[in-house]
Amino acid sequence: MRIVVCIKQVPDSAEVRINPETNTLIRDGVPTIINPYDLHALEAGLQIRETAGGKVTVLTMGPPQAETALREALAMGADEAVLLTDRAFAGSDTWATAYTLTKAITAIGADIILCGKQAIDGDTAQVGPEIAEFMDIPHISYIRKIVHVADDRLVAQRLMDDGYDVVESSLPVLLTVVKELNVPRLPSLKGKMAAKKAEIRRMTAADLQADEKNLGLSGSPTQVKNIFAPESKKDRTMLEGTSEEKIDSLVKELVGLKCL
């Protein structure tokens, strides 16, 4: 089984804070991590390899520093790592990102492609299904359980708001996964040692034989017009008095607003 896991290096948003004076992100000293959902995708890939055999390739697109994320994935047990890095990729929206990743996955070859449900910086959840469309293969989103994997098909549970759907698909297939799927393993010491020395395959726009007009900003149908700080509420009322008085005034307010 040829398994490709797409990962993304993201700022650890649990550490990201806002500078209240300038309303900008304070990124100093914020560590970068593998997108948390992607760790579950990688774990799923490793588990499939353990039962069905095969090879797990981790793939990322990003600046040269994203190599760190790939080494972490290798330490967890991935067999090989591919880094797509090129200035031509800068400014990619989800369409151009998916296009670029598709070119690489096609070159690598895959029966099962795994992605996290979404990345915690952009939160779009679009790249996975877009890759599937570009590759002309089916996809199943929000996988919470992989029920069965055979050579030519798999069955998985897709998490929905009101429960889950059991979905069967032919292979090749792309899966996006949620955290309930598994508990990602920690890298072993041996894995860490091997990952340090492992060779990482680098691919540029030229290596992908990609159509340049589909890459980066020029390949991106969407563009960012501007960014701004979210509005904060100004009409806050702090209720005063004893606990009982506070609650009485709250209930009064709610009754006044016809909320009860």
């Binding site: 948003s13 990201v16 806002i18 900008t24 992100l25 990124r27 600046p63 800068a90 400014g91 989800t94 369409w95 998916a98 915690i120 910086d121 939160d123 959840a125 679009q126 877009e130 599937a132 469309e133 089916p138 989103s141 897709r158 929905m160 708001d161 009101d162 429960g163 889950y164 759907d165 059991v166 979905v167 069967e168 297939v173 955290k179 309930e180 007009k213 020029s218 991106s220 149908p221 969407t222 563009q223 960012v224 017009k225 501007n226 960014i227 701004f228 700080a229 979210p230 509420k233 806050r236 009322t237 702090m238 606990s243 506070k246 609650i247 009485d248 709250l250 209930v251 307010e253 009860l260």
Partner: protein, 395 residues
Amino acid sequence: MFIKVNRELCTGCEACLQSCPYDAIVMKDDKAEITELCQLCRACLSVCPEGAISEVREANDDKETAQGRGVWVFAEQREGKIAGVSLELLGAGRGLAEKLGTELSAVLFGATDHDARELVRWGADKVYHCDETGFQVFNDEPYAALLSKLIAEQKPEIVLTGATPIGRSFFPRVAAKLTAGLTADCTSLEIDPETKNLLQVRPAFGGNIMATIFCPHARPQMATVRPRVMKRGTYDEARTGEIIKVAAKGIASRTKVVETVKEVSELAINLQDANIIVAGGRGMGSEKGFQLLHDLAEVLGASVAASRAAVDEGWIPYRHQVGQTGKTVGPKIYIACGISGAVQHLVGMQSSDIIIAINKNPEAPIFNVATYGIVGDAHEIVPMLTRKIKEAKGL
């Protein structure tokens, strides 16, 4: 396009360094320099007091804008029930269509003729309806294939749907196929009065910043929109419109939904549709603490939610989690009990109409987004609130 610093104008004040969400600006010889980490987000442009940072456009930036006409809303149904967000989008879509002087159409896969007519009463001028068997249950491939086909034929300029598990799963396939711009999880939609482009506002970086996204050339402009941020239009029983039957000839699927399982115990917690939510965090202390919230929720007819901290402690299942890695909700009333208000939680609930925060710590960030704040121990306040609401309701 690329971003450039004019070294003559740059005074080395470093104001731009902090503005960059990607750490793509460094100081070199006391002047700012844009590195290859730049994602062309333009955040630095307005920050520079000297106007030394500018965008440089290249020849291939000026493509011709594709043509399109009409605003479409994909109306989602599950088990024949139209999603609330679809009706909200008919309200929002009506406004957009009027600004553009065009018509509003709905697309409905599955459900019945009655439902199609209901969409007209909620504001659609036309409804494209496919009621074939394969379309009653959501399945990515056929849904994407048929919607793509309809869009390619009719060429609408805007196509919207709810940012739900269904919309967020199959819309990307449509956008990929049609080379359309797709913006995820929007919280506001406007028409640029000059260019007539759709301006789509969405949170990024876990809600730390808001970004306005637009599609300068590609059409249609597609977006998934967060439930409960748009207002429904008015329901008019007398409204008439055209129902167009759509056939799905030749559309196959390599995936099959074998079974749909409702998690019965979880039925009551459809958080995204809840009017009132009672949420608890680490401050509730235990599963027993959460019982106080269930009690309050019961008298209010509310759903119970939680912060990630409480879910991680195992006091309540993940499905109840609100925030960046959980659900995004926007009820009329959100009562946050013992939740400090980390950014990751706030992004999931700050669009609620009324936020009531109960927390021991007067400095807790949750009070920054609160409409009403009560400083106090949730273990004391919540049961008292339950009792007082019972009294007010005459229970």
